[in-house]
């Protein structure tokens, strides 16, 4: 997997949501029962290609996110596989109860797509920077939670969701971010992948933060610190065995996500390790606060979500970890 990543490096940028748009179009071509609904953000969420190709299978609900997901539940009840999209701040931000009752408790295969998630939405500010979606969706029985790392993976995830019989949530980001996988990179719902093997520290990252973690690993390699980067595109169900195995090997784990660490990937990994493989853990993400307006890079830096900060955190942790090992 290292080679795949290095083959691309940093040069090619594309918003993750574009991959969703392509994947949805392909899913529509492959499966007659795939339909879509949107809440007045068809182009933003990249549903427009599907809507243009399949106008009779597309529903525009207007600015009405509660209706969006419940119409989705109704479509699913009649045998459709509905993808329903908006900004993550509104769906699942506004319509959690409807998702809980009509999708999860009803166990309907609705695919909730939350675009523009995370702090990197940038100038729109705190109202639109959805940071709690992973926690909201992860707590729901039957729900699968996905956060692909680039547009190529998002397309694969979309096709996988079209075949998955469960309720799914997928978070997408607005900004163009580096493409770090290829068509050959494996993707399966429920699996995490070692994108870079290492011995000393494990970083479990999801979504856009996988790129930052890989960059941090490069920085650390210069200081001869070998970091294992695990990309977890599925946050629920988490690939427990892979994470436990790596934690056993390195004894030191960081998590990285563009969202609240409470209840997010950080929360999920903390729950897993404290029960099954107690390991020193440090969670990188938003720490019980809201964001603010700014350019994406500026915000990632300010809130400690960029590669430099991750690398610094690893240095700091290794230092305290080794001291503790020596009994200091």
């Amino acid at each position: 997997m290292t080679d795949i990543y290095l083959a691309h490096g940093k040069s090619v940028l594309e918003p993750i949501r574009k991959g969703f748009g392509r994947g949805l179009l392909e899913a529509g071509q492959r499966y007659d029962n795939v339909v879509a609904a949107c809440a007045d953000l068809t182009e933003s969420t990249q549903m427009h290609m599907f809507a243009e190709a399949f106008p009779d299978r597309f529903v525009e609900v207007g600015v009405a996110e509660q209706n969006l997901v419940t119409v989705g539940a109704g479509l699913a009840a009649m045998g459709k596989i509905p993808f329903v999209s908006s900004y993550a701040a509104f769906s699942p931000g506004r319509n959690w109860e409807q998702i809980r009752t009509t999708i999860c408790l009803n166990d309907q295969p609705v695919k909730v797509i939350g675009s523009h998630a995370g702090i990197s939405v940038g100038p729109d500010g705190a109202t639109h920077q959805m940071l709690e979606d992973i926690a909201l969706m992860r707590s729901l029985p039957n729900m699968v939670v996905l956060a692909p790392c680039d547009s190529i993976e998002a397309a694969k995830a979309t096709l996988a969701m079209a075949k998955d019989k469960r309720p799914n949530y997928m978070r997408l980001a607005r900004e163009a971010t580096p493409i770090i996988t290829t068509a050959q990179t494996p993707f399966e719902i429920g699996k995490a992948y070692v994108f870079r093997p290492g011995e000393e520290v494990t970083i479990v990252a999801t979504g856009t933060m996988t790129y930052q973690a890989l960059e941090a690993a490069k920085i650390l390699a210069k200081d001869r610190i070998e970091v294992e980067v695990i990309h977890a595109p599925t946050i629920k169900p988490l690939d427990e065995s892979l994470i436990i195995k790596s934690a056993k090997k390195t004894g030191l784990v960081l998590t990285a996500e563009e969202g609240q660490i409470a209840g997010g990937l950080g929360g999920a990994v903390a729950e897993l390790l404290s029960e099954h493989q107690p390991t020193r853990l440090f969670r990188i993400g938003m720490k019980d606060r809201f964001g603010e307006s700014g350019e994406p890079d500026e915000l990632l830096k300010h809130f400690g979500l960029d590669a430099d900060h991750i690398a610094m955190s690893v240095h700091h942790l290794l230092m305290t970890h080794r001291k503790a090992d020596r009994g200091e």
Partner: protein, 287 residues
């Protein structure tokens, strides 16, 4: 049952009375639950399951069936009782309502009971699910199937209801027929005190729906309204059905305090006697 069987209005009234008896018994046995709404809806549910709906109790997933959504899930005792009487499951199972391990959950769950099309309870989302279903039928050109929704007046406080109202109108979902149980009560009191809903007729009309107003405790009127609704093209239909909450039990009728509580054993005894004797007009079966 490929199509509705012919029952006379008298027979249907008798069935509705039996359903009311079972509602009282179920709630008494359960010790919790809602009384007024289910009693008020007994005539509408009888009309639906014994006349209007195309369904098969022995094959609940029959692909050609009509869909019935109960949006105000708290009124589910009337649906359970009607489903038992029409043959979905044994009437004896009704006494398991709200008990551990029962298929008859306090609020209905799709995955637990065959024939229960959706899980409901949290208000205001039945109509929008019905919109999704009606849209799916339209996509599949299944013009011979209908989506029926039973909803409450109180849940029209919910914004989600009106989001769905707009969508159904936009897509001209004439395969969607909703009925509002206009019984004028909700938990905190009369609807017009808690949050005024009127002019409901004008509201639904303004949202692009074809609106009818009927006596929802008159089975013949309910059946007629549904037949007329099916003849409306290019518009979804809203039947505003005036019902009496607690219908059939004198001390419950019109009283919002009976919205969310069951009868005690003593109250149930009086209620059952009243329903069985049609308020003293006839001799009860056990007298």
């Amino acid at each position: 049952m490929a199509g509705p069987k012919d029952y006379s209005i008298e027979e249907l009234s008798g069935i509705a009375a039996q359903i009311r008896v079972d509602i009282i018994k179920m709630l008494e046995e359960a010790g919790s639950g809602h009384s007024a709404g289910p009693l008020g809806l007994a005539d509408i549910f009888t009309a639906l399951y014994f006349n209007i709906l195309k369904h098969d109790p022995k094959n609940p997933d029959w692909p050609q069936r009509d869909i019935l959504i109960l949006s105000n899930g708290h009124c589910v005792p009337v649906r359970y009782a009607t489903m038992a009487h029409v043959g979905y499951f044994p009437i004896s199972e009704l006494k398991t309502l709200r008990k551990f391990g029962s298929r008859l959950q306090g609020h209905p769950e799709r995955l637990r009971l065959p024939g229960m099309e959706t899980t409901s309870g949290p208000l205001g989302s039945g109509l929008s699910q019905a919109c999704g279903m009606a849209l799916a039928l339209r996509m599949d050109s299944a013009d011979h199937r209908w989506v029926y929704v039973v909803m409450s007046d109180g849940e029209q406080d919910e914004g989600n209801t009106w989001e769905a109202a707009m969508l159904a109108s936009k897509y001209k979902l004439s395969n969607l027929i909703a009925i509002t149980d206009r019984n004028n009560i909700q938990i905190d009191g009369p609807t017009e005190t808690v949050m005024p809903l009127e002019d409901l007729h004008a509201k639904w009309e303004a949202f692009g729906w074809y609106v009818m107003e009927i006596d929802g405790n008159d089975i013949e009127a309910v059946i007629e309204a549904y037949h007329m609704a099916k003849a409306i093209v290019n518009q979804p239909v809203m039947i505003l059905a005036r019902t009496i909450p607690g219908k059939g039990v004198d001390f419950m009728e019109y009283d919002f305090h009976w919205h969310g509580k069951p009868p005690s054993h003593a109250e149930a005894k009086i209620a059952l006697h009243e329903i069985r004797t049609l308020g003293g007009k006839i001799k009860g079966e056990h007298q």
